[in-house]
Amino acid sequence: MRNTILVFLVTVAGTLGEMSVGRAMKDIGEVTRFTPRAIFRVVLQSMARPFMWLGLLLMAVAFFSLLLLLSWENVSFAVPVTALSYVIAAVGAKFLLREEVSGLRWLGVGMVVVGVSLVWAG
């Protein structure tokens, strides 16, 4: 039960957090200039976005949940967690961010999930 909650927090909170950061950046709009000044301005703009802070908060929750999980479970526990994150990310991107996740992209995500699991397990 304890592990289930933590795995849920790591994967779902982590993915929602990254999606919030993505949403904040989409609201700012495409970055077209890459001078240090322009990038600094983008960082400042992002900090004025509530979605950015929500994202950072959720990512922090996920990070500390993972630390907690790995403090009493074997590192191999990170395998299903990482793999699951990619699947949740693709589902979330499709339904919450309304991205077009094509068959090819799903296939790619599937290969990445298998690959990451094997690298972790190996």
Partner: protein
């Protein structure tokens, strides 16, 4: 289609930066934390004796700097590219780390790991072949964009 071409190019460059800074950050942080040692117990004194040397360790700071640069590249690429494009594509890092470990540190990589590296490479190439951005018609950007760009244009 020059617009799509440059979009793809800058997406590739930023994901490459993410992979570079993300993997070196992970490796440096891992190396630094191994020098520091293990957290012995979840008590305040133990936490203090663990965190203090960690925060004084230059390798740890180098790792943290790399991870901050990773996050900056991540933020920038997400300003235009799909989340479902960037995330699986940046998994290339999981393939790069064993590869670099094998080439430069002479680390042994098990056949299972090599299989995983191969799967990741194929997956990244497949995702990379889809259009990086599919949400140009999303409701959010249009009004927010003109509002946030107007002061920036006059300010520069």
């Amino acid at each position: 289609m020059p617009a799509v071409h440059t979009l793809r190019t800058k997406t590739f460059v930023l994901i490459a930066l993410m992979v570079l800074f993300g993997s070196s950050g992970d490796v440096l942080l891992g190396k630094g934390m191994k020098e520091v040692g293990k957290l012995t117990a979840w008590t305040l004194p133990a936490l203090f004796h663990f965190l203090l040397p960690a925060l004084l360790n230059p390798t740890v700071w180098l790792g943290i700097s790399c991870l901050l640069l990773f996050f900056l590249a991540y933020m920038i690429v997400l300003s235009w590219a799909d989340f479902s494009y960037v995330l699986p594509a940046s998994a290339a890092g999981y393939a790069v780390v064993p590869l670099l470990g094998h080439l430069f540190l002479g680390e042994a990589v098990s056949p299972l790991r090599w299989t995983g590296v191969a799967f990741i490479c194929v997956g990244v190439v497949l995702v990379g072949n889809t259009p990086p951005s599919t949400t140009t018609l999303a409701p959010a950007p249009a009004p927010a964009r003109s509002a946030s760009h107007a002061p920036a244009a006059t300010g520069s």
